[in-house]
Amino acid sequence: MGLPAYVKRQRQAPILSPANGVRVVEMVVGGLLVISLFELALHYDIRDPNLWVRYGISFVRGFWGTLGYIALVLPVSVALGFGAGWARVSRHRLLSWPSAAYIDFFRGIPLIVAILFAFLYGVDFIPERIRFFLEDALGISASSLPYAMAALALAAHSGAYQAEIFRAGFQSIPRGQVEAAEALGLRHFQSMTSVILPQTFRLSLPPLGNELAVLIKDTSVLGAFGASELVGLASEFTQQIPISGGQLVWQFAIWTAIALTYFVMTFLVTRVLHLLERRFRTPGLEVVSL
């Protein structure tokens, strides 16, 4: 209603619009341009078979590793964030207080420090019986458990930020609508599922998209501890490159490829969330998305 005309027009554009096509073309052309500039400057072809024969396997393993960490961290963080956000607005202090403490704790310490603690000491907190179960029944090696704990710390960190997003979503539901639901005879649980959550979901989607993009990129921090994902395996590989002439150029090529990979992943995820936003767009519940 009160929005400037260009915002309205932008949000009404169909998904397969020329404008969106132009964006994709821009990206591809821009990417190619950067790569060829770099090739020109360094007199180097980024497709150099010498490099990719040696690094290719490492890259693919790293890519799958990254996808694996994303698959673990994303759902866990959303579940934590949603639960903590819900608990945060609860009238019961037994729920809201621990949730506030959790949010403050993880927002107050650097991500890399949280991960460090989980990596070094996290495994000690797993009860022995569960550790044996993980190792024997699920075949998770003892050496990979610290990485799983580190990934959970990342999920908890992002969960704290997501909790604030969901809290804001909950709190922006007008109190009057909850009262109206009560006045119609709906039980608390019914008004939660029919009135509050559907609106929280719509209002939280755009900021949630941003946070998930951050989370995807932050899985690279696990690489600093030697997790086998894109960044971790790449740094391992670059340390083995012989000191002779190729080193600098190879490093440049590898990190460029990795940067592009993260870019494409986050771009895809934000696009998917935009599609969801469109799908659930409701007059009166718009949030201007980025």
């Binding site: 007008p174 009057g176 009262e179 109206a180 639901a181 009560e182 005879g185 019914q190 009166g284």
Partner: protein, 241 residues
């Protein structure tokens, strides 16, 4: 139909209701007037237990309802409510706003609930707006949807909490018309309003409340033309001018 005995309510140290005793017979329309802060809205909410009275008893059809054995949800099925700020569910269309409670609370099938909802929307003059979202409706239209939403639960009585106070002047008429028709059809109603035209033509009785007390009660002509209480007189002369 609805009877209250000595209702008291405290908000902290604030004594909002100081013993409200009232009776509304089936088919009657009771209009409550009074300055803001006099406890009118709180009293309405005590009837459907959105606010629990601290003292006193609320009866609906002879059954005392403010007892722990009686679920507030059951009470709210008996008595519908319309709010000053409409409070439609933003994410649902007009039709879905009306069908939500029948489907979830009364477990009506979707088809039955929708057929009934369309009937009710037609009754409030909004048949063609069934698929519109609240944000696409004017204030008057939203309030009429809210009335249809409350009626969908087949309440025995309806509570209106200043239903036209948040409306632009040009939309007040259409909402009052719907309410007048409802009264003519025999609905038992308790209405908090300052619409004196509506009160004098539709109300069976008017109650003047001030500072949590009923100061005067009587037929519209008496309250508006010959108020006995001094404060009623002062209030009436202010709003009739």
């Amino acid at each position: 139909m609805i009877r209250t005995e000595g209702i008291h309510k405290f908000f902290g140290a604030l004594h909002v209701l100081r013993g409200i005793t009232l009776e509304v017979a089936r088919g009657d329309v009771l209009v409550i007037i009074g300055p803001s802060g006099s406890g009118k809205s709180t009293f309405l909410r005590c009837i459907n237990l959105l606010v629990r009275p601290d003292e006193g008893r609320v009866f609906i059809d002879g059954v005392q309802v403010n007892r722990p054995e009686i679920s507030p949800e059951w009470v709210r099925e008996q008595v519908g409510m319309v709010f000053q700020s409409f409070n439609l569910f933003t994410h649902l269309t007009a039709l879905q706003n009306v069908t939500l409670a029948p489907i979830r609370v009364k477990k009506l099938s979707k088809d039955k609930a929708e057929a009934k909802a369309r009937e009710l929307l037609a009754r409030v003059g909004l048949a063609e707006k069934a698929e519109a979202y609240p944000a696409q409706l004017s204030g008057g239209q939203q309030q009429r949807v809210a009335i249809a939403r409350a009626l969908a639960m087949d309440p025995k009585a309806m509570l209106f909490d200043e239903p036209t106070s948040a409306l632009d002047p040009e939309y007040i008429r259409e909402v009052l018309d719907v309410m007048t028709n409802l009264a003519r059809d025999g609905m038992t109603m308790i209405v908090v309003t300052h619409e004196m035209g509506f009160a004098s033509s539709v109300a069976s009785r008017i109650v003047f409340m001030d500072a949590g007390l009923i100061l005067e009660e009587g037929p519209p002509a008496e309250i508006f033309e010959h108020p006995r209480n001094e404060r009623t007189r002062a209030f009436v002369s202010k709003i009739l001018r």
